[in-house]
Symmetry: C3
Subunit: 317 residues, 3 copies
Amino acid sequence: MQEQFDAEGRLRHLISLEHFDDERLTALLDKATGYLRPAGELPAHESRFAGRTVANLFFEPSTRTRASFELAAKRLGLHVLNLDVRMSSRSKGESILDTVYTLEAMGSDIFVLRDSEPGVPAFIASHVEPHVSVLSAGEADVSHPTQGLLDTLTIRQHKQDIANCVVTLIGDISHSRVARSVCQALAILGARQVRLVAPPAFMPGEDAYPHAERFSEIEPALRDADVVMALRIQRERMSQASIPDTGEYFKQYGLTAERLALARPDAIVMHPGPMNRGVEIASEVADGPQSVIRRQVCNGVAVRMAVMATVLETLHP
Amino acid sequence: MQEQFDAEGRLRHLISLEHFDDERLTALLDKATGYLRPAGELPAHESRFAGRTVANLFFEPSTRTRASFELAAKRLGLHVLNLDVRMSSRSKGESILDTVYTLEAMGSDIFVLRDSEPGVPAFIASHVEPHVSVLSAGEADVSHPTQGLLDTLTIRQHKQDIANCVVTLIGDISHSRVARSVCQALAILGARQVRLVAPPAFMPGEDAYPHAERFSEIEPALRDADVVMALRIQRERMSQASIPDTGEYFKQYGLTAERLALARPDAIVMHPGPMNRGVEIASEVADGPQSVIRRQVCNGVAVRMAVMATVLETLHP
Amino acid sequence: MQEQFDAEGRLRHLISLEHFDDERLTALLDKATGYLRPAGELPAHESRFAGRTVANLFFEPSTRTRASFELAAKRLGLHVLNLDVRMSSRSKGESILDTVYTLEAMGSDIFVLRDSEPGVPAFIASHVEPHVSVLSAGEADVSHPTQGLLDTLTIRQHKQDIANCVVTLIGDISHSRVARSVCQALAILGARQVRLVAPPAFMPGEDAYPHAERFSEIEPALRDADVVMALRIQRERMSQASIPDTGEYFKQYGLTAERLALARPDAIVMHPGPMNRGVEIASEVADGPQSVIRRQVCNGVAVRMAVMATVLETLHP
């Protein structure tokens, strides 16, 4: 794993939340908080980094995450290059690297990378020049660190004390880079308990999520939870889990108002988006008073501004 | 129909020109006029709204209109997100709304929407937060309000008195959102006469365009006209109108120099673009001295700046 | 050929390097040099032209060249419209022109054009208004003037005296617009010798490159060369050259370390990118100490800034 922190311990790349500690995670969340503004007000802007360049290299299509990184960059005064790259797998490693070298030579300071295969962000981070930073915007089913940060920030906004929180994740956990990253962050911040509910085929192996409690039925997993996070289901994976259709999935694992009533009355409902309404979550829950789903999106831009500003401070102290 | 004006009568959304009155329409055209500059000079710029965000959500592809909105936004100092969205019809309403909520949570102030199905702009306008505005960039065959405004502005620039104008529209009127919007604007400003010429299959029903005079042959419709607007023909629709090919269409309805000579000597020629030269309009007319087609395009950017500035003033007085 | 210089001899369009002279070429290279900054430092910026507009019209897809022009434009404070245009060949001339007229009416000051067919940049340059400039970003196999400039700038940075340089080009020269443009520039600057090495099918006719020395084998062509440029091979063209596969090409014409040792010890290695490693160039050469390939990319942004600034000075003295 490529070193994310430089010799002085400053954030240089963001590949995974795995090796963060409480202090560094809290510093990023505090910085992100400083970029939040009330809805409708002029968004936070900075000009310290004006004229620097971000290259969004998305090897896997994404509208939402790309837009979030793009707005974060623009609000920091950065120039943004959007590159949707389709490459054949065979020559990919080599081609990606030449693309990165090219964009680096043009003066890109930050690469934002999304890829459906594991290893690419660390691979590239180990090859860029000392004045360049790599940020993962989603790596296979391995890591999605800015999502983990925005989820954690959202929880922190609503729960005084994460150390006392019970967090329940529902759905396709084994394929979810979101689940991975948020659970790493929760472990670092010392959440009381993380619970996983999933069909057997979607439950990760014993070595992953060692401290989590596992449930096969949703009701006991929700009981007295402080935070409930429904994960997106890929319809293509239904058969793999021996679930005949989305209706059956909703019947067994859908987050309904009735089920949510088992959690604590002040429990918050989260979803990384985009939602399959009526599959993993009922619309009345998604749009209900306990939902903080739009707040997650809003926090996402602030978190990405904080991460970019932090690595730029590292590169140009 | 979603209310386009707020309680104080200020423009909040732009979905249709239907409920405008003379005063509001004139105010928008005056504002747009203030953004015009001679060709080659530095375009008008503003910084009052710098840092606000426009999301261009185009569910139907468009190069020209998207570019016009994008330049208008950039010249107002706005950040622009371009999102080409392809969605299956089935789950569209729900998905669009979740996309809009997401972009709204990221701090989008204005949504520019184009869709081939009717109802989407008003639907979204009824769901956004109080500090967000929706602008239609073309809605099915129902409405294209900024095109109507730029057409009206172009006519006003060349004709002292719209109340004395005879305006002739030629072509596929029944499917034309452009025709709808410009005729609404002309009715509000009290144009003397609107004439429609079309093959029977392209002539709208009796309840649409109640005040227009209808012609089946082009020559009498052109006689003494002050403004002649040729509409774009979709080749796919030819057979529907029992017209065997584009040559036959041009023979019957093409705007030639010979036919244009029937209009007033100072008549102007308009086309919303992109043109099918040799189908609905002869090249010598499109590029001739009476053509104001490029002036329409130029006015388009100014009109879109005026609309965006107006709704931003409404949102943030 | 459309006149690239105005009546006062100032650069108005950039279509080809053919009619440049030493003084003008040197002035452009000097200006580009002024935009260079050490790697990692804030890139050069200007605000003189802020608010002007560049339309990137790419009829042939390109990631690298488009990105280079886009960054160059943004660093000059220009608004950038990116338009990937796919047009059928039949109606192309007419449609391109209407697209150009439209973007011109919106206030585009500069068109950056790439097309796989010859003639388009000059055709458009002969139709735009006096306050608009056309820059070629690659025209069929005919011309790629900014690439020629960046290559020349790179050579000048490493070789005191171009008049004393021996430059060897290897590969598919007959289809290469890069080879054409760089050889035009080298002829103007008076390079001592240009050598061409290619399979017979890729060797240009006798009338092209009149002053170049031709080689069928790579070794003698490399002997004592100061500059070695490997050109990209299109795999589709292999069979045309009776070369059965990429391995065979590499065996005959690949630039290996062993072969490079035949050139002068201080010879530089160039490639216009994107490279086929292991086909036209060995990875150890591409990434070796004599390679200036990334420097070429870096110079590309500076050259494009210099070209845009120069034509904007011509348009708005």
